[in-house]
Amino acid sequence: MSVRETVTTAAVAISNVSHSFRTPAGTTMTALEDVSVSVAENEFFTVVGPTGCGKSTLLNIAAGLITPASGTVTMAKQGPSGPVKPTIGYITQDSNLLPWCTVIENIMVGLEARGVQKAERKPRAADWASRVGLAKFENHYPRQLSGGMQKRCSIARTMVYEPDIVFMDEPFSALDAITKSVLQKVFLELHDQSLKTIIFITHDLNEAIALSDRVAVMTGRPGRVKTVVDIPFARPRDVYHITRATGFQDLHDQLWSHLELDLDLR
């Protein structure tokens, strides 16, 4: 794989990526087959698909954590004088906070890792703690927080260093329905305040429609991109009531019709 900085309008360009795994039985399982996706700068791009279709693998490849068997991933950002290497953020289903660090220390990790000046770290982290509603919990350890609060902390830890591209792997799927809606709202507000390129994985169609600019539907194993659907709703959006918006049900039906053919167990 080559992660190059080339002149392109796409923030992330995934071209002809294929990948396979060796199963415990010794056979090879193809997880992704010839996947090509192009995500524009500041676009909220979501990938939906049945379990095991290789969504997470695709995300890990895009984020550079896995080297694909074939194909390329190109990331670029338009700087003042030509394209520059973008910084990336990664938010997973597990909050993956450092259990030995307090909330504020966890948020500062993102700054420390990038070598931000010491004097700058604390105020920036404190600002983000309050932006996600954790100002009163700065000195709590992760295990003293609820699941939703841990998720807020992990969002703050990523957003604090202002990544150009944020990869999100089912970030809200382990939360209860109410907490999930609240965090979707919080996250969309943050996104509206400062636009980022976001690649989002979910298996929740409502979530996909509520948050995204475009939704890609993947097939079951081996994963391929079946279709990409535009979500035309204007921003800022009202996450709590978006299911009642005109056209929502049509979009849901359209995505579902692409998905359901692949849902039979094989």
């Binding site: 990336i88 953020g89 990664y90 259990p99 990790v109 993102g110 420390e112 890792a113 260093y161």
Partner: protein, 282 residues
């Protein structure tokens, strides 16, 4: 009847709000009382054991075999006032500390190296298992030959035993370093060194302390074995002398000193642990 009906609303409030209604101050008070109770029970158990020992000695079991607590305490007070016992203690302490330090450092280093590299780990693990299979006490004469009569043969013996305790703890601990946390920081752009400091090291802390704690009594075993084989100083040497002179009180007094030294060492490790693993506290 009038009294009962006045009580009624109170009872229903208590049921509805569960234990919230309990007064606040009791939590620390209860904890304090529990601690006192525990200490009392421990003291009682100790007194019972010592009392039984005192009763059995000379009546059921010959006193030259097991001595008795009163004699042992007398002897302890006695020998702790002599210059020779303190120099014995200092020699044993030196052997213990140096041997422990070498064993801990060596075990941690090799455990880390083999844990970090899957290839070297799989190559070297059977080898280390084989060496660990040697009954290490059998090496005491070898160490005597290599390192002489002084403290270094005992240091080597202690280090050898502690090495394996520490090695296995760190080696296994390295496999439990949470990969998702490593990934998260890698994506953020954290350097290798930063990942080691922020993720690998803290997640090893539990293994490190398990090794440090288990290592203390093992180091003492190594040192005493070394002193038993050949020495002219040390607490182990004193115990051996006492045995050969049919002085059971001296023998048990010496053992009591060894136990005290081990507990002292564990106390230091515990103190250190409480500071480092603060995040695990309630």
């Amino acid at each position: 009847m009038a009294v009962q009906s006045a009580d009624q609303p109170d009872a229903s409030v208590a049921v509805a709000s569960g234990d919230v209604i309990r007064p606040r101050q009791t939590k620390t008070a209860r904890r304090g009382r529990q601690r006192l109770l525990r200490f009392g029970a421990q003291l009682l158990a100790t007194v019972i054991i010592l009392g039984l020992w005192q009763l059995l000695s000379g009546r059921v079991i010959a006193s030259f075999l097991i001595s008795n607590p009163v004699d042992v305490i007398k002897k302890l007070v006695d020998i702790l006032q002599t210059q020779t016992m303190w120099s014995d203690i200092s020699v044993t302490a030196q052997e213990l500390v140096i041997g422990y330090a070498i064993g801990v450092a060596g075990g941690a280093l090799v455990g880390w190296a083999l844990g970090a590299s899957e290839f070297f780990g799989s190559v070297c693990e059977p080898l280390i298992n084989a060496i660990n299979g040697i009954p290490k006490i059998a090496l005491a004469p070898v160490f005597l030959l290599w390192f002489g009569l002084g403290i270094w043969s005992k240091v080597a013996q202690a280090a050898m035993v502690v090495f394996f305790v520490m090695f296995y703890n760190i080696y296994m601990g390295m496999r439990n370093v949470p990969q998702p946390l490593v990934n998260v920081i890698r994506v953020m752009g954290g350097s290798r060194l930063y990942i080691i400091r922020k993720v690998v090291f803290p997640s090893l802390a539990t293994s490190i302390f398990a090794g440090l704690k288990a290592g203390v009594p093992f180091a003492m075993i190594g040192v005493i074995v070394g002193e038993f084989v050949a020495a002219d100083q040390g607490v182990g040497y004193y115990v051996l002398e006492a045995t050969q002179q049919y002085d059971p009180a001296g023998l048990f007094a010496g053992i009591a000193i060894m136990v005290a030294m081990v507990l002292f060492g564990l106390g230091i490790v515990n103190l250190f642990q409480r500071r480092v693993l603060k995040w695990q506290e309630n």
